[in-house]
Every structure is written in C-alpha cells, then in structure tokens.
Symmetry: D2
Subunit: 278 residues, 4 copies
C-alpha cells in the first residue's frame, strides 16, 4: 500500500476510545501526522479523522473494527486526488471557476468529465482539455434520460458528482445510486427561498443579505446536509438581476469551498447534518 | 423654526424633478448640506432625503407640494433626537445594549421609557436612570393588556416603539395605531426560520450561518419591511444553546444599526420593502 | 452623439449648484436616469455622477463649465465598454478570473490584450481568444523594457491598464504616462504588510485576518488611492503557503470588484483617496 | 479536588504521544469529555487541551510530566470562572459591554475590580455593583503610579488583567509581572496603524475596511501575540470621527471574543503567536 493514508472513523463514543485507537495505530508502527476528533453529545457519537504516515496493513483495519460497537464505520483510504464528474446545464460561472482552479492546482481534484444536457459549455470545457459529454434530455422521459446519464457516469470511477448549476431535478433512484456523493450548489441562503427563482424571491422580500448553499443531495429537494454557506450584502438599489449577477460570485466560491472540504475528507455526514474538521 | 431641517420626499418620478425641488429650496434661501435621491424603476417612484440649513417657512412646504402628483409625501422635520419607547419582556441583551449606547451618545436617541410585561428588567433600566413601566399581562385578555399598553404609550409622544425582545404577539389593532413606527428584532435570518425557536430550527437544519433581522412590524408575523440583517458563522460544535448565546451579539448589533438608520431618517418604506440612504 | 451618456463633475461646492447643473441638463432636453452627489466637507468639494438619456450637444458642456470655479473637471462621456489592457507575469488566478468574467459578461469590459514579461500565460489567454503580447525583460534595462511596453500599450487605445499580478515595479515615467489609469491588486490588507512577501509577513506576525487591496498606482509603492479591499479569516493552522493559496480568492474578487466600479465610472480620485458611488 | 478539570499540555511532538497521554488519563480513571490537539510543524511542537471528568490526583500530573521532554508545560486546572481585573481610563464602550455581558452571564468571568487613572467611570462600574479603584497618575512619576497600580492589583488574585481602553503605556517591569496575562484591545487592524490615532491614520489613508485587534501585551507596543481581530467596511462618507464611533462596536466585540477564548483556556501562546482551539 501507499505510505500516506487517511483514517476516518465514526462510532459510538466510550471511555478510552482515543487511547485504544492510537494504540492500534502505534502497534502497526504508523505515525499520526494530524488528528481531529469530535463527540456529538446528543447521540453520543464519536468522529475521528487522522492522517497517517507509514505503510498500513489489513490487520490495522481489523484491529480497529474490533474496537467498535456494531454500528460503526472505519475507512482507511490512500491519500490521492478525488475523481469528480461535473454535471452542468448552461450556466458557466461555477463550471468555469472549477476548471480554472483545477487547472492551476488551487483545487486538488481530478475532473474526469463534464456531463451536460446542453452542448453550450463544450467550448469552455475543451479549452481546458476536459472531456465533454452532451446528453440531451429532449424527446426522452426523465427515466430514459437518467439511464443515459448513469451509463455515462458509470464509465468514470468517480468519488463525487458535482452539480455545478445542473438545472434538472434528479429522481430518488438516481440519488440513491450516488448516495452521499452528489454535491449541489443552491443559489440561496437555505432554508430561505427553497425552490425556483430564489433571487427573485429575495428581491421581492427585500432582504439585505443574499447567499448560496452547497449541500449533499438527498431525496428532499434543497434539504440535504449543508456543507458550506456564503453571503453577500445587498440593498434597495439591487434589481433581481443584479442579485443574480453578484450572487454568482458567492455561488462559485461556496461550491469551491465545499468541494475542497469534501475532497480533503474533512466532511462527515450524520443525521442529515455535516461535521466538518476545518 | 429651527435652522436645521430634514426634507423627506416620496413622489412619482418625472423629468426635471430635482431641478424643481432644488429651485424651491433656493428660492427660500436654504442651503443643501447633503442630498440623496433614488428612483425605483419598477414603479417609477422618486425618493429624496435632504439636510437643509437656514430657516424654512411654511411656504416652502406649499411650494414643494404643488410640484408633485397627487400620491406623494413631503415631510419637513426639524433635526432632533427621536423619542423612543422600548418594549421588552425578560431578555436583557438588546435592552442593555441600547441603554449603554444611548447613555454614552453612541446612539443618538431619547429613550422615554421601558415598558415590560415583567418586572425583571427594572433594576437594569433604573440603573441607567430610565423610567420602567411594568404592565403585567397576567389575568388580562390580550385586548385588555394592549389597552393598558396603549394608555401607557400614549403618555409619551414617541416617534418609534422598539421591540427589544418583546415576546408577545401584537394585535392588528395595536400595530395599526403605530403604523410603520414599530421596530422589531427577530432572532433569525428572515425569511428562514420564521416563528418560534429559530435557533433550535437552525440547529436542527444544520446551517453554517445564523443571523438576525430588524424589521418594521406589520400584521403578518415576521413579514414586515426589513431594515437590517446580520450574520454569524457557526459549525457542528455549536449546540442550539450556543447559537442562541452567540446570536445575541448579532441581534443587539443589528437592532442598534437599524435604529440608528431609522432615527436618522434614512429609511423609507415602500411596497413592504425599505429604501435606505446609508 | 450617442443617446446614453454619463456626466462626471468635480468642482468647488457652492449654494445652488445642483439646481444650476440640473437646469443646464433640462435646458438641453436631457433626462436624468440616475444621480449621485457627494460633498467632501474638509475641502468643500462637490462630486456628481449622472446618467443621462437624450442627445447631448457641445453647448451643454459649455454651459456646465461656465457654472464652475476655475479648478473643476467636467466629463461627458458616452456609455460604452471600457477598453483595458491587462499586464501579468506568471500567476494565473487573477488573469483567469478576469478572462472568465469578461467572456461571460459578468464584467462589462473589453480586454484589448494581455501583456506579460513571460510567455507562460499565453495558452490561457489564447484559449479565451485574447491577444497575448510577450515582452521579455531579459537583457534589457528597466527603461528599455518599459519603452517596449509603452510602445505596445500605445497600440491599444485603452482606458485602463490592469496589473493582474504584474510583479515588476514601474518607473515614475511609466506611471505618469498612465496617470490615474493603472489599477493594481496588492496581496495584503494595506497599509499592513507593504512590500514583498506579505503572506509570509502575515504568517510571521500571527494575524487572524488577511486581505487584499485594489488601488490606483502612483509613484509611492503600494500607496496609491485605495479602490476596494477584501478580507479572509485565518488561524494558527494556516501555513504561509495556505494563506497565499486562500488569499488568491480574495485577490481575484477584490480586483474584479474594483474594476467593475472603475469601469462603471463610479470612482473619483481626490487627494490620494477615492470617492465611490456604489 | 473538584471533578471537572482541564488539562493543558505543550511539549515537543513525538510518535505515540496521544496514546501515552490518554493512557495516563485512563489509568487514573478519568473520562475525556472533549479533546483538541495541534502540532506546529515548523518547530515540531505539540499542543493539547482536554476537558476531564472524574477526580484527578497529583500522581496523574506526575505521570504526565514523566512523558515529556525537558521543555514542556503541563497544567491541570479546575474548571472555574476566571478572575479578572479591568483597567480603563475614560472611554466607556468596552467597559460597559464587559460589565453587561458578565452581569447577565454572556461572558463567564468574574470581574474583581475596575482600576482607572480617572474617576469618570465610577458611576458605571458601581451601577453594576463592581468595585472601582481610582488611582490618579497626576503628580506621580510613571514608576510611582505603576507601584500604586501593582499594589492594588496584588489585592486581587486575578488570572488576567484586561486593558479596556486603558490609555497609558505600561513599563516593561509592569508587563513582566503579569507576563502573558495582560490583554489589550487596540483600535486598529494590526499591524496597520500602529501607535496613536489609528482612526485618523485610517481616514487619511482612505482605507475601505477598518478593524480592531485584541492581543496579549508584551514589551513591544502593539506587537504582542494576536488573539482576535474584527473588521468593518467603511467608505468615503465616513469622517475620522465616524470611523472612531463605528469602530467602537468592533472593538468591544473583538475584546469580548478574545476574553471568552482566553478565559475558556482555549488560547496557547507560542513564539509570539497564538494557537486557539475554537
């Protein structure tokens, strides 16, 4: 195995847990580079993220698993760039921002492909040397279209699917196939302005702050676990269009921040919320 | 009349308006110290706030009114501290903050009295030398209690009523008597988490930013025109109680900021939104 | 002439000024779309920015000039995209961000060319269809290199020169030729950390907030009029390299914001400071 | 001993350290409620803050100390309110804010006394029932005045001395006696605008953001380890006086935040910087 790994543990909390875990790590002659723990008091739940150096073996995994109650999760993963497929429709600001960041190593991910239901963004994608897969939804049922999408996604062994302004609602079947692996950027400060045209809603309500929310997608629209949120001050001189224009900046920053956190294995999901070791 | 006045105009926009208004001001030998205008394009509505020096006479008012279409508002008011009555219940952070700011001239308002349905805050109020009026709601119908409140408020010729964590809902009758004169601080980033226990709602939803909203009160709970909003980053380590504790800071700052704007005549209300000359 | 113009006035303040200016505008049958004024009290200086519709003629300009004291500035300019030349060295984040924004109309400017003392950014520039001019400084004196730059710039009738991480210091001669037309992004919260390696300085000092500053360039390094500043919270877990990485986001946003303001004629320069009608 | 303690460790990092420390804790039958660690890579330094429940005995302390290299620090302190003396001069906003917060348990500290070189703030202090010690500096040498201050401070067994706008410079002798125990609020975004009249400096420079900095005091004026910083957007309409007025809000919030962190034992000092477990 590689000699840089990350250990991710979620289990019931109990006395002596850190001592036991670090004991197993030491026994296998591994070094802890960095360590974060958190205990969620309401449910007595323990979360740990540890960067290890040295060569882990399967027996570490076994030793660790033996420590925990039935309902636990232990992952020991090599440190490497995460593989991501980006889905988009026609809007370019989030996609362009991600392409730029990846190209120049500001965001340490590996974009496998861009999948879109329109062909509009092909030139942008290809100018960055990224594969563009155009899968039109026209003349297709939702199910047939998603079947095409899934077939395409299956060609890439991706860690995450990023919805960078993908404007179609995904079915529960689709979401379930990529459970806790789909990240969306919603153009409002959730849970305010759920649903369509949030900037128009914000304008009509006369709010003084607008925002964006990056979240995992589950089967309730705009109600998945929140990863990151960003805000922007506005005032009476902003039209709904101005809000949409300036909001794009917040959207792309918030999505990039969420993706950086997720792809650095800093985000745990628990009870429809996130625990994030920043 | 005093020689420092403020002119507040709202009317239909038309060509030449600023020239006509400034002409009327000049004709009366007044000087414009500072000037703000805004044209709301959707409804073609003109707003103006002007600081004047010199002694205005009634004929200026008449000349100005003659310039405008039927549906207009012109106010010519002497520059002076606004008179405010604060209503509170048991929470102290907003009230204490306002008392401190006023005492030391950080907020240029004149607190006439504090009215509360509990006696808990009397010591705080009186330590700042401010009159405390305890009007219990116990054993009273809502209407009877409000009648007592109104009788008390009527003793003070107040420009604004500030709800500094006053925890009872006001009836439409009450609100109408102080139309566009009641300012409330709501402990959430409206329109997210309308209603009760917003911090608990925010905690349960797992948001990463919480906030507070200062707004005028109208007859739809938490739906009046927004004056100011403030936000605070939170994370998974915050309990609902932590959010409530840290949120207090945002609440008191947001209320103070809103009150400063309103009492400096910087806030116009139009179509359930605010236009604010900052 | 075009029928959309912008009027920019700077002059000594005096009684009746707005009335006189709006009178001249009316006399020429022009309509005021939007208007901002500001009086700088310390020096009694009046600033005005007005959007006009209708066809202005030279006599408006003459009428206005006749109103003002000797030391004034009146500009009547057609509303059009500003022409900009971007200078860069090797860093890509600001340049890439500006290219993306312009390509997709988030930033309403016309990039004439990119001029660099290295050839590294050519592929990026040309993938957006923008002319790239490589002018190496190697084997040239500073004066000889700047002569080359000036010759190149002269081929483009540009309104502004944007230093998007151009890492060479410009001579007073160069700066004077583009007086108040050169915009720089400095990677610190000026005036903290003037000079080289500001992120290293920030790291060494242990600050909790870092920032970036967009400013006009004059002959004192990092001391020109500030247009916009942005900040970012950091903590003890950030290395100097992390600060530099995350700081890039603030740099590019701050530069884009400054450029939007300047190219929308919202920025006046007076006494080494800016007056900005936002 | 009490059954709620906090363990604070600073030592050289080495393999197995967390396992050894948690082993010692377990051996004494104590429970870890919460835990934070950080390794400073540049100097290979390990920091740990742990909340313990159970009754610690001296032998835990001995066992822990035996684990570490010579240059280490281990503190095992009962969880209790920190005792603080506040020093002030004439300005009230920070002092008033701290008094309000403590009175109503928003800030969990115990204010022993307020010491001032003027008598102006006595009424404020006493309205909150806090002892006020007036020690004029008039007709005294700096040394004689500080001798008086030290004599007064010595009467209170205080954990921290808070300079809430105390406007006199302290001598190295004074500072050394309360080494790493004096917290100051500086009214600028350090290291910008070191020294006197920072708001005037900020106004003259035309910055678009102002700030405040809470820091430990050492012998280089304004150069001690930074605990917290806060910022505020300003623009050309702000006079130096406006900046000072609005800046007060940032000052008091930043000081309160710093004090909350320090008094919750979340702040380690190392190499003139702070490591803060938030």
């Amino acid at each position: 195995m590689s000699d840089r790994h990350r250990l991710l543990i979620e289990t019931e909390d109990k006395k002596g847990l850190i001592h036991q875990i670090t004991g197993a790590i030491l026994k296998h002659n591994l070094n802890i580079e960095q360590n974060n723990e958190f205990v969620e008091k309401q449910y007595n739940r323990f979360f740990m993220r540890t960067d290890l150096s040295g060569a882990p073996v399967q027996s570490l995994f076994d030793d660790l698993s033996a420590l925990f109650s039935a309902d636990h999760s232990v992952k020991l993963i090599p440190k490497r760039k995460k593989r991501v497929v980006i889905m988009a429709t026609k809007e370019r600001h989030c996609l362009g921002d991600l392409l730029l960041r990846c190209k120049y190593n500001e965001l340490d991910i590996d974009i496998q492909a861009i999948v879109s239901n329109y062909d509009d963004l092909r030139v942008l994608a290809e100018s960055f040397g990224v594969t563009y897969r155009y899968i039109s939804h026209q003349n297709l049922t939702r199910e047939a279209h998603e079947a095409e999408l899934l077939k395409t996604l299956a060609q890439y062994d991706c860690d995450y699917v990023v919805l960078a302004k993908y404007m179609r609602i995904l079915t529960p079947d689709f979401v379930e196939k990529y459970n806790n692996k789909i990240i969306n950027i919603h153009h409002s400060f959730l849970p305010a302005f759920i649903g369509a045209s949030p900037y128009k809603q914000a304008y009509d309500r006369g709010v003084k702050i607008i925002g964006a929310t990056a979240h995992f997608v589950n089967n309730n629209l705009d109600e998945g676990p929140i990863i990151a949120q960003g805000v922007l001050n506005v005032n009476h001189t902003y039209s709904a269009e101005d809000m949409a224009l300036f909001g794009k900046d917040v959207e792309k920053q918030t999505l990039a921040r969420a993706l950086r956190l997720v792809c650095d294995d800093r985000v745990f999901i628990y009870k429809n919320k996130t625990i994030i070791f920043e």
